[in-house]
Each structure stands twice: as structure tokens, then as C-alpha cells.
Amino acid sequence: MASLFRYFQPRHLLCATGLVVAAAGTAYLVRRLRKRAELQEVPREPEEPTNPCTSPSPAVRTVEPPSFPWFGIDIGGTLVKLVYFEPEEEQAEAENLKNIRSCLTSNVAYGSTGIRDVQLEVKDLELCGRMGNLHFIRFPTQDLTTFLQMTRDKQFSGLHTTLCATGGGAHKFEADFRTIAGLQLVQLDELDCVIRGVLFMSSSGPSECFYLENPNHPEQCFLKPFQLENPFPFLLVNIGSGVSILAVHGRDNFRRVTGTSLGGGTFHGLCCLLTGCSTFEEALEMASHGDSTRVDKLVQDIYGGDYDRFGLPGWTVASSFGNMISKEQRDLVSKEDLARAALVAVTNNIGSITRMCARNENIERVVFVGNFLRGNMLSMKLLAYSMEYWSAGQMKALFLQHEGYFGAVGSLLELLKSS
């Protein structure tokens, strides 16, 4: 899988079939790639202004972009997601801006827990008339205080008095930002940001959105890019610590349909308790080596095969962790098996609820995002397969490359818009 990901790295694809977004009636280009010669121009629908620096009115007008640095931050229950736009070098750049730039871009890891997802970086992006690279950084929410102390030490606050932030932590830690780092947060609605982020990133080109072909075949499964134009309506399933399911009918027309508390935090938390692991990555790694069918009770374990009366194939999980009610079986399973069972249970459950929501909302297109899917090909395959299987091929699971960063991207877009 890793190789597949490499093949579909954003930059690679952007260069191949990149997309220019030209707002009709406005000459302003929101984003563009440098190699114009290779570009295929696709006219944008006029009623959907993606340009954060233009007012919705058709009047051609260039808005003064905000001063640097440009950040968007999304403080979730488990992870803080940060996007940083690194503009092309400027001679007149202030010293502390240079500091930020070098500090963030010269490293891929910050402290023991902060990580820059290099493979997700979007290069040569034009935002509000400035060219630059978009960086994606994350660290655990519990290290937020350390982060705030760092920003204070580096005197980020001298540059900006406001920072666009979303996620629950934008409310919970608002005071900490003010008192520790001297930063004034602009609190943005989470769902708003996620949707804006998704629409912005997915309009960047076919690289962002993809689906899985043959999700159930280990050898023949591969990623296929998906053109997410005219995306509405779609169901957006955001799997973070918990899960939110949104029905999106238009840029500003969406509704949280439901959510579930069985999300990434549940998988991670259960793995910590069951296996003694600590990080999400460790838990995933264990799961990838485990066999859940030793932990779960399958239909065939009860009926000796398929349960034909109800069209249930024998491989269907009848009871997650159902074999664990017996001591003998508890003694037989490995930590890896348990991690895998937790992953399968949480993932399949999200799949079921999503499918039911999709049917209730009469929506066939489902987009899964959120950090639970980061590096989690197992879950993506399960979701892809279960959506297709149980809907008899009617529904397709779509995924996005920048899984968990859309809230942060959305809040960055707000910063540019609000200036």
C-alpha cells in the first residue's frame, strides 16, 4: 500500500492533471500551478466561490491578503491539526516570520510527539495571490500547553493578534491561548470548516479524492482517483476520536445527521487497555498483524456456514469479541488479534451507521475523512467493501488524501476570507 500512496502523492498528480479554478466573472485565480502549459482549464461554477479573498459579490476586486504567517488550526479531542502556508521567500520577511518558517519546514518532527506529514505537503500553491507550500502538522492535544509555551518563546504573538481556530479545543483552550501565548483565537464552527476544507482541497484535482477498487482482494486492490465535481449531495463522515456524520447538500447547506461515540478514540483506547500499547500507530501496526476471527464469533461459528434464512454469509461477524466470553478462547488469542478485532468492530459499526444514514437521507455518495483513517488502509478497505457489499453495489466509499486536516484548512481559508 505504501507504494501506492507514493504513486498518488499530491504533487505528482497535481502536475499531471492539475486544475485551474477560474471564477467566472472574476479574473482572480485562487490556486494555480506553475506549469501552466500542462494545465487543462476547467470552468468553475459561478455560484460556488471558493476564493477566500473575494467577496461573494461579482465585483472584481482584489482584497488585501492578511499579513503573514498564515495558519489554520483544528484542536480535536485527541489531536491538534495545524496547516501552515509557507510563502515563497521574501527578502523583506520579518525575523520572527523567518523563524517560524525555518522552525516548521526544516523539521518533520517537533518535540517527541509533533509530526509534519511531509507526504501531504502541497507545493506550489497560490493562495490570495501568493505562491507557496501548504504544510500539514499534527501533535497530541495533551501537548497543547507545550506548543503554546513554544509559541510564546518564539514570540509568534508579535505578528498576529488573532489565530483562526476550530475544533472543540478552540473553545476549551481559548483562555490558555490568550494567557500563555498571548494569542486571540477566532473560534470557527467545526463543521463549517471541515466542509470548506473538503471542498477546497477536493477541487484541487483528482489526486485528493479516491476510492478503492476490489477492496476485498489483497493483490488486486488499488486506489483509483475520483473526480469530485458536482459533489452534492454527499454524506461526509468525519472519524476523529468520535464520529460525526453530515449530510452536505451545498456549500452552506449541510446538517449533522448523527454521530457515534465509537470512533478512533474507541479503537485507540480499547487497544491501550487490551494490549498495553500507547500510540495510535502502534495500535494500527498490531492490528495489521492480527486475526480478528479468533476473537469474534462469526455466523459460521454459530450456524456452521451461511445463515441462508436471512442471507447472511458465514464470514459475517455475528458478535464482536463474542468468542471472548470463554476462558479457553481468551487464552488462545494474541494482542494483535485483539487489536484487529477492535479495529474491525469500530470500522464495521461506522460503516453500518453510515449506510443507514445514507439510506435515510437518500444520498448515495459517501466521503470518509478524519484522522482515524490516517495510514489505516485496513479500515478503508473494510469501509469500501462493506459499503459496496451491503448496499448491493449502490454506495461507494470515497476517501480524501488529507484525511484529518480539513478542519484546519477550513480555518485557514476563513483567515484569508476575513481579512
Partner: protein, 775 residues
Amino acid sequence: MADCSQAGSGRHSMDKSITLPPDEIFRNLENAKRFAIDIGGSLTKLAYYSTVQHKVAKVRSFDHTAKEVDGDPLYEISVQEEITARLHFIKFENAYIETCLDFIKDHLVNTETKVIKATGGGAYKFKELIEKKLRLKVDKEDEMSCLIKGCNFVLKNIPHEAFVYAKHADSEFRFQNTHPDIFPYLLINIGSGVSIVKVESEDKFERIGGSSIGGGTFWGLGALLTKTKRFDELLQLASRGQHTSVDMLVKDIYGGAYGSLGLTGDLIASSFGKSATTDKEFSKEDMAKSLLHMISNDIGQLACLYARLHSLTRVYFGGFFIRGHPVTMHTITYSINFFTKGEVQALFLRHEGYLGAIGAFLKGAEEDNPNQYSWGENYAGSSGLMSVSPDLNPMQRVRSGTFDMLEMDRLERQLVNLPLLQDPSSYIPDTVDLTEDALARQYWLYCFEEALDGVVNRAVASQPDLPQAVERAEKFRQKYLHKLQTLRHQPFAYGSLTVRSLLDTREHCLNEFNFPDPYSKIKQKENDLALRYFQKVVRSLEKLTWEQRQFALVKGLLAGNVFDWGAKAVSDVLESNPEFGFEEAKHQLQERPWLVDCYDQWIARLKGPPHKCALFFVDNSGIDIILGVFPFVRELLCRGTEVVLASNSGPALNDVTNSELQILTERIAAMDSVIQAAIKEDRLTLVQSGSSSPCLDLSRLDKALAVVVRERHTDLVVIEGMGRAIHTNYYAALSCESLKLAVIKNSWLAERLGGKIFSVVFKYEIPPQSPGLRR
């Protein structure tokens, strides 16, 4: 998915040292046939059909063609044997299975039976044992089909089968009235996994979905997390835990509520989310609680999504995860409430544990057409719903050795709704729910206990020539006393506790000890006596002016109703002073204005055109029926109104039964030309109600009655007496005019209604939009 087929702790040891109290448990085994068994993860449910030989009191008219001799009774009473059908269901722990099979083998006389229908995960496991012990061939039936069949059966036949669970309410159990049409509904069976089944009709059901996160997940994951092996113990742990230390709440992320989405701060954002980010030890209790919430919420959410997709509002929950556990009933209820914003209620079933066994039995009994009959829960033989306190020591429950029983009698007639109910789905027969009204409950339980001596004495007196009457009466006393004690602690044991259910339970217990009709002789004597005065009463009424007569008729009806052995105050007077006459009774009555007084409206109505047909639910024998009801009926007939007299099918207290009423009517017809002509011209009809209760449930009436009511275009219903018009049906809304009248012969009740003893209720009601008076 299915019921759990494996127990957590491995093998069940067979406990052979247990001695069973056989008389109590496997009753009527001699004539048992059609066995079925449902073996689950820990409990076995056995079902069989048997016949019960009962004594019944029969009345037979003497030949009265010869000149009447003074002192000759009107009819003779004989006690005969009658055979009725009964279904027995017994639930016990799997550990007793071998002992129980041995016992059945030893006591099974009837050997016609060749097959035992079996269902449940354990049916395979115990197949050999069953075949060896009982020498019956095990015939395996699909579990889900059995479950649905059983569910349909209890929903149709057992009033107050379904209930809503409310942990913090005055009464934890709020019982639902049987809906005239039980379909469609959703059944969520939470076994080791979850099955979601949509049931559309008797034979049409579909598994529309399911989930692997179910009871097995709670048990299996719980065992891993807490090192606690037993399901019950896990529930105990959970009921003591705090999930907030393990779960990540909305406020843990937002610092408070997420107002714009309407998510409160206490909402769980991520189950077990804190165990991912916090480096600390979590208590077993807290983890178990978090797990319980996670699973219950998840199931509740899926249930709601399916209910919405299929537009279903009746959602029943069953399976071992639910089975009488207050903890899981509470969390599921909470979840359903949350996800549907109160639009859908989680419903549970009193006999949920028996559904599979009932269904398997019904599959084997199809040739007996069990679905053609109506069945009734026998309160004397059924254990009722036991409270399972979460604080109970789990070990106590495990080895409790409790044998739970359900017995259902096949009723002689099919029971249906009165077609004249305004809204059958919202009709509640009982006026006061003693499950909720603690004060009234205390009073009535005390009252019935106080009256017990008298009932016992009368029972003995009714059978001077039959053997062991005293011993049987004593057994009856013990049985009923025990029921009253059970109901004191578990008022919800048989559904909503009501005066009606207390009376019915007493009748069932009396029958159980072969006292079919303790009042038969008293009724006979009273009827004889009253008949002598009939003509005199009619003559004196005829002398009155129309207005005077109408009032006298109503007063006579009310005075007649004072003669009621069911009411303690009256039975005291009657026993001490037999001369207490009709006229005296009239003096006892409250002067107008009565406690409820619609007399003026009634008279105004009578001045209008006659009713097409009146349905009259009669009450007591003797003075009531003969000197109260018949003159009143006679007047209606003279006005040109047809009359249908509905009386009990079987005996209850001193209520006149259908067979007695037939004899009485013949006798009255012989001396009254109006009645005679009405019978000849089919303008006066006698029907039986289908009931043997001093109260009246208008949703369970003889089908034949319903046909007559419809054919005759009945436009007036008269309901007489405390049992039928006060304890039940006081608030019943009918689609035609109705008259509910009674004398309150209980000072406590009278006081509660704001009056004194012998207060009169005369309630004349016209349904909204009825042509009624305007016609």
C-alpha cells in the same frame, strides 16, 4: 445474533442432587403432549400442552310446566367435571436440565408424543441427552422464526405484555395496552450479536439488519477488560461504575456544550476516548460502565435508524442482554429516547424469555390451530415478573434454583374489541393503576386480604358434599395470600396492578382449587326470592306517570346494584341481615344531586326518539338483575329499543352468568308478555361477554357479542356496577351514547371520588359529533 450458545465459564456441571417440588413445577404432566424446548446460554425453557380437569358449576332448569310449588328452587346446580386446555411454560437454569428431564420421563403417562421441538443455541448441545432421557426425537426449529411466532403470540394474548421501563419513575414498569393490531413492529434481539427484524404479519417477517456489537461484545470485551467472567457480574460492576472517567465527553473536548449542534457537555464524544490519552489505571467498574453505555447507545442508534427507515414506531427489545436486567433496560431506553428525541419508546416484554419456547411449541402444535383461539394468562399458575435488583449478589442469582412458570388457559371463545370503542388503541379498561398509585395499592391489597376469610368460608359452604373442601379452601387461602404478598413487593408482576387483576387473580386461585362457583347457592336463593317480587314491582311502576316511572326505574337499577357480595360493606350487611330489602336499599341511596349526576340529560334524551339497540352489561344476580335491570329493559323494549343483555360466560362472585340469565329470562317471560314478545320477535337477545370476571375489559369480548352489536346497529351501551363501571370503564370513551351507573359501596373509594358510601354515579355520555340529542 442468536441467543448465546456458549456459557462463559465452560461446562455446566449437572446438578443431580436437586430435588424438585414437582407438584409446583411440572403441573399436569400426566396428560402432557407436544413438548418444545428452548435451550439458551444459561436458561432452559420447556413448553408443553396439557389438559386440566376442572370442576364447573352448571345450572339446569327444572321442568316448570307443572304448577309451581312454593319453596321449590328455580333451577338446580350441579358440579361437573370439565376439561380445558392449558399451556405450561417452565424456565430453569441449564444446570437442572438432567434432573428435569428425568422427572418428566418418570411422570409422563401419555406416550403418544414422539417429537420434541427444539430451538436455541443449546439445542444441539443437549440433543443427545434429550433423546436419550425422553425417548423423543429432537426436531430443531429455526430460532428467529420461533422468536417471532412467540412474540406475536404473547402480544396478542397477554394484556400488559409490553412495558416501558422508567428507572426513576414511581413505577419502574409502565405497561402498554394491547394494540388491536400488533403489526407492524420491530424486534431487536440482543443476543451475542444483534438482529433487527421487521414483523409485518403473522407469517411475514424480515431480518432487515443487525450488528455484531451486542451482548457477546459486552460479555467478551468486558471479560477481557475486567477479568470478570460472568455476564451478571459484569452488569453489577457496570451499575456501580462511572463512565465519565473512561469516556471522552463533549465537554472534555469543548470545555462545555457544543451549543450550535445541540450537543450537551455530558454527551459521550468518544467511548473509551480517555483511555487512549490518559496514562492511568481505570477501575473495573468504570470500564464496565463505559462498555455498557457504548453498546447500549450503539444498539439504540441502529434501532432508531432502522425504525425511521421503515417508518415503525413500535420497537420491542429482547435477548439475553435485556432479559429483565434493569441496568440494560435503562441504558437502552435512554439511548432510544436520545436518538429519537422521545418519538419512539423502547418496549420490553414480560415474557421475553419464553418467546423461543412458545414459538417452538406453536410450530409443533399447528394442527391444534392454537392461533384460532384466544388464550389468557393464568395468574394462579404463573410466577409473574420478578424484580431483578442490580444490587443483588450475583452469586445468589446464579444458583437461585428459581423455576419460573407461565401458564396460559385456552379460552372457550375468541375475544375481540367492542366495536363501539372510540379508539381501541388508547382504550384502558382500568380506572386506577395501582402500580403507580401507591396509596390506592396499599388500601386494596389490605382490603383483599381482609376479605379473604369471608371468601374462604363461602367457598367451603358452597361445597358441603364435596371432599376436602376445607383443605382445598385452606390451600386457596395460602395461594392467594402469597399472591397478595408478591404483589405488595412486586406490583408489576402481572402487568399493571388493578382492582380487576386482584379480583381476577382471586377467581383463578379459586378455580385452581376447584371452587368454580362459591356463590352458586347464594345466587340461586336470591334469584328465587327476587322473582317472586317481579310482577309486583312491574305493576307498581306501571301506575306511575312517565316522568315518575323513569326516575323509579333508574332508582331501582341503582338500588338493585346495592346487592353486591363483591363489596365488603354489603356482604357484611347481607350476611347479618338477610331481610335487608329492596325498599330499604332505595333509602340508603344518596339523594340527588348524585355524586355524578347526568339524570336530567338522560331524561331529556328519553323524550326524544327511541334508541335503535341497547347493549346492557349486567352485574349481580337476584334483586339487581330481576328487580332492577329487567324492569328497566322492559321500558326500553316498550319504547321500541332492541336490547342485548351481556352477561359473564363463567362465574365470578355473585354476578349473574349467561346460563343463569337464560333460565331467569325464560321464567320472567312466562309471567310478562312484554318480555315474552320481545324474545319471540328477537328484540331481546342474551349474549355472553366471554369473561369470567367481576370487571369488564371491553377489548376482550366474545366475538359473537361483537357481531350482534354490529348487526343491530347498537347506539346505547349501559354498564352497571362498581366492577364494570367504576373500577373499569369509568373513563372508557365509546362511539355511541353510554350510561355508566353504580353505587359506590366502598367508603374509601367513595371518599376518594369525593363522596360518601352509597354515593351514586350516574354518568350519561354522548360522544362528540354523535347525532345524539339533536336527532
